[in-house]
Symmetry: C3
Subunit: 156 residues, 3 copies
């Protein structure tokens, strides 16, 4: 089907993860993946608080592909309530663990900020529920059209 | 229990879905449901980027039922980082596939916008993880009180 | 592993929950947990609309532990589109059901507000999908470092 790919996958193990104050969220998730042997996974839920949140947004009116001049990097000291962490873990072209995560955080004012997460430090706590996905034929490659690392599904 | 209904459901198949740049998110999800035979499902995760995002909010101070003068439709050209897509697929009164989806997107400034999604185009990519729900007695009907199509659960 | 704890858990029952207009979201979720016998759970999805949303944010520049002078409580009449409800249900130190929920809601303007949810009333509807987690050794205690009730995982 043009423009649409899908694949039935098996659900693997389910994990509850906790990351301590001051730790890097991105690094600790990669460490979790190595320690548990998880290769493909999806974040089901994340709750807690963050500081020093680095994320990027795409500049208004930008066209594809997404290139460095077309993105805007933010660094917010916070702390922010961690309101959502969405995304997945899939191997990149070299088979290395690659987390694709989008983050949303709530400011003191109640406003919500967010974008494609580069990294963040845990503030008071971070509690994550994650489900392993058992599947072949799911890989992340650089998309020439999109300019970004993108999930490819080899069959339907 | 007054004001609260719940039902244990079986988890069915789990899918990873990818939608290509330029495609309609709403239409492609309906196509996915037809092609896969999914009748009831919940979106577990969605990550990527969107443009031409149409969504509605409820006007401040509005009362029930939700009627057209009580909502405000937004169209945001973007592109926006797709930060969350929450919602479910349940059949409507005619048995047709009906997606009830709420969307949040991040602007270049880091601000987050969102509401009840009417439609959006995929910008660079859109990666969705979705779980099928196997259940009888779950249907969506127009709620006279609420003014909107609402999930009804026939037993507890 | 310093600063990182994780535990494989079993997935239990899956529930679809509906809460009626005017009801307290926090109270009804606790009632659901009592009625169904659920002790540990994670919210997979929530969609609908809310009013009288009370939530807190952490003051910008605040340090640990989180204390009452370091938080800011908001009450938003709305109604707001319910865009996400993330979090989990775990017993507290006395074994009582304790919901740790973060909420995001969309205003009429399309802006998104959110934080650590204290409570909210359902506006038109609220549809939740929740998964039970079967696990020993997961408890919530007050963290002296963080100042807030925090999930503790007793093994790796």
């Amino acid at each position: 089907m043009e423009g649409l790919w899908f694949k039935e996958v098996e659900q693997g193990r389910r994990f509850v993860i906790k990351i301590a104050p001051g730790e890097s969220l991105a690094q600790r998730l990669v460490e979790f993946a190595h320690a548990s042997g998880v290769k493909h996974a999806v974040v089901v839920s994340a709750v807690g608080s963050l500081r020093d949140v680095r994320f990027r947004g795409i500049k208004t009116g930008a066209r594809l592909p997404i290139t460095p001049p077309r993105i805007h990097v933010h660094e917010v000291e916070g702390p922010l309530e961690l309101l959502a962490l969405t995304g997945n873990i899939f191997p990149d072209e070299k088979g290395e663990i690659d987390c694709h995560l989008h983050v949303m955080g709530g400011r003191s004012s109640g406003e919500v900020l967010g974008g494609h997460m580069l990294d963040a430090r845990v503030f008071a706590t971070c509690e994550i529920v994650l489900t392993e996905i058992l599947a072949d034929g799911l890989e992340r490659h650089l998309s020439k059209t999109g300019g970004v690392a993108t999930l490819f599904i080899d069959a339907q």
